[in-house]
């Protein structure tokens, strides 16, 4: 793999690390299967693209994109909490609606950002080649995001949110307003995903209305895959696992792209993702016996004799 391909893998992996963190909040902390991300990812891209093309400061545009994503999350949560629509269905409704909303916001299916001032322009102006500048900036951002999330999840509000996800009834009995925490959690989750969408559009040179398809799959693969590699014993390790999972997924994609000599082509990616997630889900139960066998457990050796 060339250096540029490796840095490209890191870049995409770090951006989708933000998606993984967002999916972690909804899927793991709140136990809320959230397909809204397929709509909030392009929503973030759409909002920031339209603003940037109309001359707005890119940092402000990105911030507004986060608010837009938060709005989308709030809608899904509101449908669930106020109208009692099943969480999965509520998220599907918002995802479908967002397709039309994104088209309305952009006015056309694709807005090109090549040559526009983006959040990465100041770094490029320093003379650093973009294939270094962008991953480096993203690494700093994701470290900040990860530690902010660790702090948040260990704060009073974060603990209340975790309690809501673990056992809503018990949480309510303890006086926690579970509706509020679901709304808050979904807003934060989708704000992160919209941020990722905005950064992706700015680094790729275009916001396209179809760029959200499959984001939830990638997010889940990252969260679940990461958990198989780094056991999420603490919040610190859990968020680290999300980012690691996202990077591992992108490495797997890059391997599929580079492995022509063993017959794998990019077309096999979906199969690879499915296998990866399946292995990741089976790994925890297989881990212990495999470990024992490697250490030469006498029971297993005895059976072999």
């Amino acid at each position: 793999m060339s250096l540029i391909a490796f840095l490209g893998t890191a870049e995409t992996g770090l951006i989708f690390g933000l998606v993984a963190l967002g999916v972690y909040i909804s899927f793991r902390v709140l136990e809320f299967p959230d397909l809204t991300v397929d709509g909030s990812f392009p929503l973030g891209a759409a909002v920031s693209a339209v603003l940037i093309v109309n001359g707005v400061n890119p940092f402000l545009a990105t911030l507004l994109a986060c608010f837009a994503g938060a709005g989308a999350g709030l809608i899904t949560a509101w449908l669930n909490v106020r109208l009692n629509i099943l969480n999965l269905l509520a998220s599907i409704l918002t995802m479908i609606a967002l397709y039309s909303i994104n088209l309305r916001i952009m006015g056309r299916p694709n807005i090109a950002l090549l040559g526009e001032t983006t959040v990465f322009s100041p770094l490029e102006a320093l003379g650093i080649p973009s294939y270094w500048a962008v991953p480096a900036a993203l690494l700093v951002l994701i470290v900040i995001a990860k530690f902010a999330m660790d702090w948040f999840l260990n704060s009073q509000i974060g603990l209340a949110m975790r309690a809501t996800g673990t056992n809503a009834r018990m949480a309510r009995a303890q006086g926690i307003n579970t509706s509020f925490y679901i709304l808050l959690g979904m807003a934060v989750s989708n704000a992160l995903v919209a941020l990722a969408g905005s950064l992706f559009a700015q680094s790729q040179g275009a916001a396209d209305v179809t760029m959200g398809v499959g984001v939830i799959v990638v997010g889940l693969a990252a969260v679940i895959g990461g958990e198989a590699v780094i056991l999420p014993r603490t919040v610190f390790l859990a968020t680290l696992a999300c980012v690691a999972g996202s990077l591992l997924y992108r490495v797997a994609v890059a391997l599929a792209l580079n492995a022509d000599f063993i017959g794998l082509k990019a077309q096999d990616l979906n199969l690879l993702t499915a296998l990866l997630v399946a292995v990741a889900m089976v790994l925890p139960s297989v881990r212990a016996p495999v470990k024992r066998a490697l250490k030469g457990d006498k029971r297993i050796l005895g059976k072999l004799k």
Binding site: L114, A206, T210, M211, A266, L269
Partner: protein, 319 residues
Amino acid sequence: MKAIRLALAAMAALCVANAATAAEKSVAITQIVEHPALDACRKGVKDVLAENGFVEGQNLEWSFESAQGNMAIAAQIAKKFVGDEPDVIVAIATPSAQAVAASTDTIPVVFSAVTDPVAAKLVPNWEHPGGNVTGTSDMAPVDKHLQMILRISPNVKKLGVMYNPGEVNSVSSLEAVKKAAGPLGIEVFEGPAPKSSEVLAAARGLVGKVDAFYVPTDNTVVSAFEAVVKVGIDSQIPVYAADTDSVNRGAIAALGFNYYQVGRQTGEMVLSILNGEKPGDIPVSGVKTLDLWVNPASAEKMGVTLPEGIVKEAAKVVE
């Protein structure tokens, strides 16, 4: 832990063990999704190169990756190609072209099947792009299409355009149709279909409202073209297309180019660049050859008689 370390080492070895074959020239080609038209485009490029002495395996290193409709994968493919440093990167369709153009400003990039390269910010203008990007546009000459429609069905006053609002090429085509239809006295009705499974319903929704259907070069609608033909036959509404392959599948007529020709034009550009020309000096080209294809059997089923003159003019009459 040991097993994990072994696995990581194996993965690292796989990453590194990719020896480049010694070849004279290398061309890397990517497309956003696999699709008969885009595949034909790619074949056109390859054939032109082969006819001019660049054959895969002998003196040409040819790598192809499809992004399977996923922009994140298109981004990784773009980075991979830039890292491989080929002599030319060919990108078929707007999202792939944008991803590649964003990843390099030194390696020559030739786009293909991009309807509006200026709006996509790939090139500043058609005549002298100036940078490292040039290519072929598949913008359909819709005014000629409308004239053809009026020649065969002169009573058409309301035209139904089937398209996917999520495809930027179709939105551009729709706008062009609306612009050209005004002076001709034709009213345009939209039949939006965001997914290929919704094409049938969208077509049915226009029955009774339109005198004819027109299907532009839209990936979604063309992949479900038979649905539009079915509605046309059931309701006796003529169906016209913008690409010639659809005439095989039931359209009455199309004044189109086929994507193989677009690919060949792209291949000519790639050839010039391989022979030393700078991409910035090569103007973006539109479609040059237009062929008229007609399907008399389909016309009959839809209640239309093709004028003799048209059938004689046709480059191909589909049986």
